[in-house]
Symmetry: C2
Subunit: 389 residues, 2 copies
Amino acid sequence: MRQSQLFPKTVKNAPRDAVALNHKLLVRAGYIDQLMAGSWTLLPLGWRVVQKINQIIREEMDAIGGQEMLMPLLHPKKIWDETGRWDSAAEIMYQMKDVGLAFTHEEIVLDLVRKNNLSYRDLPLAVYHFSIKFRNEARASGGIFRGREFLMKDLYSLHTAEKDLMDFYEKCKQAYLKIFQRVGLEAIVVEASGGVFTTNHTHEFQVVCDAGEDTIYYDRKTKTGINKEIVGENNKNLIEAKAVEVGNIFPFGTYYSEKMNVNFTDEDGQQKPVYFGSYGIGQTRLMGVVAEVFHDDAGIIWPESVAPYKYHLIGLNGKGDDVYKKLLEKGVEVLFDDRTDVSAGQKFADADLIGCPYRLVVSDKTGDKIELKKRSSQETELISIDVLR
Amino acid sequence: MRQSQLFPKTVKNAPRDAVALNHKLLVRAGYIDQLMAGSWTLLPLGWRVVQKINQIIREEMDAIGGQEMLMPLLHPKKIWDETGRWDSAAEIMYQMKDVGLAFTHEEIVLDLVRKNNLSYRDLPLAVYHFSIKFRNEARASGGIFRGREFLMKDLYSLHTAEKDLMDFYEKCKQAYLKIFQRVGLEAIVVEASGGVFTTNHTHEFQVVCDAGEDTIYYDRKTKTGINKEIVGENNKNLIEAKAVEVGNIFPFGTYYSEKMNVNFTDEDGQQKPVYFGSYGIGQTRLMGVVAEVFHDDAGIIWPESVAPYKYHLIGLNGKGDDVYKKLLEKGVEVLFDDRTDVSAGQKFADADLIGCPYRLVVSDKTGDKIELKKRSSQETELISIDVLR
């Protein structure tokens, strides 16, 4: 991508109302734009980051047998009435006369499944989608941490027996830890309350981060802990920290399927309620957490796995076009600062702000070599184009 | 993908309320499921088809300089009030107190752009997204042709002058024709009215199809025509046909940007309104049109470019596992009917219904060869695995 054409330009100052660091950094660097409180456009750079996060999630969900699909966002009231959540979740669900907006999909996926008369042979079954969620948040804030509208991957699993559900639940927990690791984050598995989802305890994945809204108590060695909301005080001398929730998993058992009459035919022809779990990760929030965790005074420092571009090529003295074209031919991901109306200093500042993992410079001084610098380091070296991939 | 695990199973009978052929075929074959009138889940097979359509669109939009991003679905009333469309489009827009649901994004993209103080150097600019659209359709019907919620790619372009807008408009028209051609469809460029978008005439892309809701008059040679809605009668002895709209493009000029004060700084420092166009394709509808156009009595016949899988491998007599694994290793797309509780006849019927372009059979009779049959042909041949790619 030629930076002269990239929309939008970086901006020097953060929005006046921005408090959260992710808000300031991601807006200034041109990753996101706020339409209204809690509602964001993912700009071209931000959308690239989210697509990379999506692809990591997709690979790990497919690896545990998930089937990707896409469920609707307008939900009929009468299905939500079956579980009582049209009323019990009314505070966070946008509701019109006979339809509400998706804040989660348990009822919808169970309605889909029960139409298909499952037999024990069809189970276990795991389906997931990448989709928008709407939540009528009074306290929409924290940059993209808490939105009225945000992206989520939610997976739903169905089983013939509790043991099978819990085996899968553990498998999914491990898949989630792998996802966060691939994104560059260390996640702590935390016991928490189930909110509007369940009266049982559930597991959250929390990343330690000053901007987090949760307080957790955790053990550094096992990377497990407990959310303050369910214990009140630090009962086991664990480390106390502010943290932000990046995922959560819910083993519902037969609670929802009994309310909605979602059964499968057992080996002996009997109808039995399916065991059910759900598993969510918020990708837009995840992008914000990565920006909060990986930055310095000059800007963001993306882990390579989720960077919008691996290389940021800076052309000075009108140079760089040949190198850019060669890198494209090699299939290398590169953002090329080809601007002619901007100073070298501004280009370097923008590269630091945008935060691609590697900066390349081509100028009168570099001859037939290229100057390479890691975003996270101060050292530069001269390299040949052949080593880039 | 192993068909024993694929959700859901095919069904013998179409839903009782299904009238449209795309509805019957796509539901029976397990591509889509109806949540309520005009609202569909894209099941794993259907989602694969839509993702292939998306990728074709993405490549052609990138080729004309489009930058992909993602805009929100909840829109503030106050922005829609600026153009008067909060009121004029109230019939089709889902509206709550101070927010409405996206039925298009002209106002939203213009609000985004004006915050960024564009100069003539930043133009032309073209941004697009793949996103959900909501329309409060009284006559939600025709299978997935007319939904209350559906997928759309919409691109928006901004220019310094009318000529530049119209040059891009023509470029986008050609890109659209290429997209429909790659999807396997012959589209006719039809002059039409602008609906709630503009009082000017616009261009629609129509595919001749008995299930279409539009009537067009067209010339077979030039593949251009006119929508009956703007002429009333066949004025030029053109062919009259039922057709379905698969895309439309709108050259708005400065109509919206003047209402919303969306300006750019000209070379001499003057503020001038941007020239603006928008360009839409509905992908879920497109999947339905392909199913309507390409089918026989036994089921769908997907063009290879948008088929959920290129090959449908049928294993008989417990065979096929080795071939399946080898194809996966080669990176070949294959749906493997590994079911052991289903007759050969049922497997063949399902393959015809699902409609992958090539059927492969491995059985006691095929020895170390594989039987290959095109979905669109009756002839079979024995081939070696090496020729498959």
